[in-house]
Amino acid sequence: MSRDTALVSADWAEKNLDAPGVVFVEVDEDTSAYDTGHIAGAIKLDWKTDLQDPIRRDFVNKSQFEALLSERGISNDDTVILYGGNNNWFAAYAYWYFKLYGHGDVKLLDGGRKKWELDARPLVKDAVTRPATQYVASEPDNSIRAFRDEVVAAIGTKNLVDVRSPDEYAGRLLAPAHLPQEQAQRGGHIPTAISVPWSKAANEDGTFKSDDELRKLYGEAGLDDGKETIAYCRIGERSSHSWFVLQELLGHRNVKNYDGSWTEYGSLIGVPIALGDEPGEA
């Protein structure tokens, strides 16, 4: 994968709003944002109600994903352009799902909603409906998904990349600072995880930094190209953003997103936790 196959610019998007076989999909952290205006023709996926299992703590399974995309009118051979608020966090999260379930052609809109709005590009409030399809998903590709036991086993052996803010990494905050801080889990990070906040991979307008800047960022942070990598954050959406950078833009292999992330790890009984600004010992 590379920037050319995984990313489209706002200019490209604006010229291809009506292109056949191209479906724009908005995925926001603030799930009401779509209704205040969206890119013309874009449908909405709600990361909570559409993309999570309603009962178990897990995301939608293969048949749930098939039912969702069929009902929303996305075909297997459509080019899906994902975008959203908050610097594409949840759009990147959805991108990871599309890859996990084997969608052929999916891309992120560089800069997401923020760049689109700051550029004063048009948003509309029209309701969008698409004819239903018969979407068929692949079996989940767990080569891009990490589970808790392999995360614990990765301490001191694989690259662990904590992409939360420095204060969350150190244990001074338990959640990003636009959310309340009271949580059940303990603060801190997985021992030996390096801290590379997701935000260092993005420019202020939400676009991704250049490949050279990104390579330098992870190189200087101590990421070892020769090892497998697991990225995590609090609930797995910011680490989808960093997973996208490492695997889809920079073309690293063997990068996994740990979607259980800190809300799972920080609640486990008996696992090691490091506090403070240093990675800590295995």
């Binding site: 603030d30 944002a33 610097n87 923020k114 803010s165 420095p166 905050l173 600072a177 801080q181 307008d205």
Partner: protein, 107 residues
């Protein structure tokens, strides 16, 4: 929704109540309004909370009345706003409870 009043003499903001269950003995809330150079509230501005080293910590979009809110920790922070009307920065020292800030953007 009530319009925000001028900086420094704002009544407690009724337009964006804190979520139920927020304990102000524990939470460090930084809240305020983004104004344009002409003193008008700026809805849809992107407000970024940067830590004492300038590192990004969080980002929100202002409400129709230009309001924003963060749950931070005691310490020194920078707020930076991006908008179609221009950008702006302000430094904030916050402790537990609510700290109110006015942030002005200009071309």
């Amino acid at each position: 929704m009530t319009a925000p009043t001028a900086a420094g003499c704002a009544a407690p903001d009724q337009a964006a109540p804190l979520p139920a269950g927020i304990d102000l003995e524990k939470e460090t809330v930084i809240t305020g309004v983004v104004h344009s150079g002409q003193g008008e509230a700026v809805p849809g501005a992107y407000v970024r909370l940067l830590d004492s080293t300038g590192e990004f910590t969080a980002e929100v979009v202002t409400s129709p009345a230009g309001q924003f809110r963060f749950f931070a920790a005691p310490g020194t922070w920078t707020l930076r706003a991006l908008s179609r009307h221009g950008n702006g920065d302000v430094a904030v020292t916050a402790g537990r409870g609510i700290t109110e800030v006015t942030l002005t953007v200009a071309d």
